[in-house]
């Protein structure tokens, strides 16, 4: 006797249908990155066909009305603010992560974690408002201000990844180190950090990528003005993402302007995809090593 006779009809049909729909949605998500690369490339193509890539990336002449679209000053601006941000966020973030995972009491850790999550949840525009009210009076609308605000925005991702990676270091090797007479810090320096450094590199890369693409907060505090090559940290900087956000509205009226701006978005996309692929591959490898024992 076939037991299926007693079951409600169509159950397997539903399961199969659901499986196909789910698979389709997975393929959609998987293809999203390709769609983005392809879509932006298509829109940036007109300018790539008209101007040599070298001029577009390494010339500082940005005069859309005269048909000059050199992105160099914006790329320099991006490099300035991200370098400053990383100079602040990397040491502070790593030290905080070590403190929270190695020294802090469990209750301190449970208190700090939601706060750091909250830091990640605050709107970029609110960071910008904070920067304008609290940081600009000290350092002006400058690359330094942009870097400070970006550093705070990069804290959560750096801290959470470093803490996660430190957690994967087996407890036994810490014990072995202590048993040999090492102090807590020596154990951290020679055992934990030695084991965790690829993950820490990944955290830095991902934090860097976050700072690299952040737009609104930087647009509000870095003093984005045209034709400036920042020479010191107190000079205004005009990073790439801010350029994209700022030129919306005027770009449709000038030929090639929209292509130039979308080329900037395309460059940003490629760079962040590259950073993220490197960062997440490192973390994936750590996770698999851990799972494999």
């Amino acid at each position: 006797m076939d037991i299926r006779k007693f079951l409600p009809a169509g159950r397997q049909v539903k399961d199969n249908l659901a499986r196909r729909i789910m698979f389709g949605l997975c393929l959609f998500v998987l293809s999203l990155a390709f769609f983005m690369v392809f879509g932006l490339y298509q829109r940036a193509k007109p300018i790539l066909a008209m101007r040599p890539l070298k001029d577009l990336l390494f010339s500082g002449a940005w005069h859309p009305t005269q048909g000059q679209f050199g992105l160099a000053s914006f790329i320099t601006g991006t490099l300035w603010v991200t370098t400053i941000a990383m100079g602040i966020a990397v040491p502070l973030g790593i030290l905080t992560a070590i403190y929270l995972s190695e020294y802090a009491h469990r209750r301190t850790r449970e208190f700090a974690k939601p706060l750091i999550d909250l830091l990640a949840g605050i709107s970029p525009v609110v960071y910008g408002v904070w920067g304008v009210i609290a940081i600009v009076p000290l350092t002006g609308f400058s690359a330094l201000t942009g870097g400070i605000v970006l550093a705070v925005m990069a804290f959560p991702i750096i801290i959470s990844i470093v803490a996660e990676v430190i957690r994967t270091v087996p407890f036994e090797i810490r014990e072995a180190s202590s048993a040999l007479g090492a102090t807590k810090w020596q154990t951290i320096k020679f055992v934990v950090l030695k084991k965790a450094w690829p993950g820490i590199i990944a955290a830095v890369i991902l934090g860097l990528s976050r700072a690299f693409g952040e737009t609104m907060a930087v647009l509000m505090v870095a003093g984005c003005s045209l034709g400036v090559f920042p020479k010191s940290v107190f000079d205004p900087a005009y990073p790439l993402p801010a350029l994209i956000a700022n030129t919306y509205g005027e770009m449709m009226s000038i030929p090639l302007y929209d292509a130039a701006v979308l080329l900037a978005a395309f460059v940003l996309l490629l760079v962040t995809i590259f950073f993220n692929m490197v960062g997440w591959s490192i973390l994936l490898r750590i996770e698999r090593r851990e799972a494999g024992g």
């Binding site: 750091i116 909250l118 709107s123 904070w130 737009t215 993402p241 919306y248």
Partner: protein, 282 residues
């Protein structure tokens, strides 16, 4: 004193200092926004739309942006949920653990989550041009949905991973298939975590400005159509701060306070719900 002890103490002090700076910066941000914003906040801002000359310092409020953001956020979260939920169940119930496809999908979700929102905005813009859409609520919803799909999917994925395999086996042993197990067993068990993931993504969508700049546009009117531009709170803050008038700028601070308060409320709610409803813990 022992040199090792001195080194230990130096680094411990540095670590304490760093933690203080990180946590202190959050306190600093919240204090700045609350102190500056509270002074300029009044009821008119919450219940009126901008009248002519609002951005020159005349009267009105930002109800258009508050409502616009909420509607856009709800729409985008709903759309993202329609994609995320099936993808997470497929990842966790239909695929074998550590299958190549699952690994690739998770990797791509992580990479997508790292793409800046301005790039999503630019992509949404090319998408609009391609389909002949104008800056509108619909275009904004689609773009923000794309932006939060990776965040939502990955955080739900972490929740589903934590559910013990035995629960599934018990369900299969009773004759349920994977779809039935997904909906009737796993979904219920994971519900608090799923709600948290949804709320976090909602908050992220609400606060983002760079993605809606190109796609949702801006308007002084209340949202009334999917195909018309819509005002959003982050952009309202940005525009008010960009004016040269101190009184409008301080309204920008008040608007930042409103946005921060909404986001704080959402994250407290998320935390509360996930604690309150995590019963029958396994």
């Amino acid at each position: 004193m022992d040199r090792r002890k001195i080194e230990e103490n130096i680094f411990k002090t540095l670590m304490l200092f760093s933690t203080f700076v990180v946590v202190g910066s959050l306190a600093f941000i919240l204090a700045t926004i609350f102190l500056k914003g509270f002074r300029a906040l009044n009821l008119d801002m919450l219940i009126k739309t901008p009248k002519g000359g609002y951005y020159l310092g005349k009267e009105g409020g930002i109800l258009n942006a508050i409502l616009g953001s909420l509607i856009l956020g709800v729409g985008a979260t709903f759309l993202a949920l329609l994609v995320s939920l099936p993808v997470v169940f497929y990842l966790n119930l239909y695929l074998k653990k550590n299958s190549r496809f699952a690994l690739t999908l998770r990797f791509f979700l992580d990479v997508l989550g790292g793409i800046p929102s301005i790039v999503y905005g630019a992509f949404g813009f090319t998408f609009m041009v391609f389909f002949g859409l104008k800056a509108s609520l619909l275009a904004g919803i689609i773009t923000v949905a794309l932006l939060i799909i990776p965040i939502m999917t990955r955080s739900m994925d972490e929740v589903l991973k934590m559910i013990p395999f035995e629960l599934r086996e018990a369900s299969y042993a009773l004759g349920a298939n994977r779809l039935e197990t997904s909906i009737k067993i796993i979904f219920r068990q994971a519900l608090p975590g799923i709600v948290t993931a949804v709320l976090i993504s909602f908050g992220r969508g609400l606060g983002d400005a760079a993605s809606v700049l190109f796609t949702a546009g801006f308007t002084d009117y209340l949202p009334y159509s999917l195909f018309k531009p819509v005002a959003t709170l982050p952009l309202a803050i940005f525009f008010q701060l960009g004016t040269p008038f101190p009184e409008v700028q301080s309204r920008g601070y008040a608007s930042a306070l409103i946005l921060t308060a909404i986001i704080l409320l959402i994250s407290v709610l998320a935390r509360f719900l996930s604690r309150r409803f995590t019963k029958h813990g396994i």
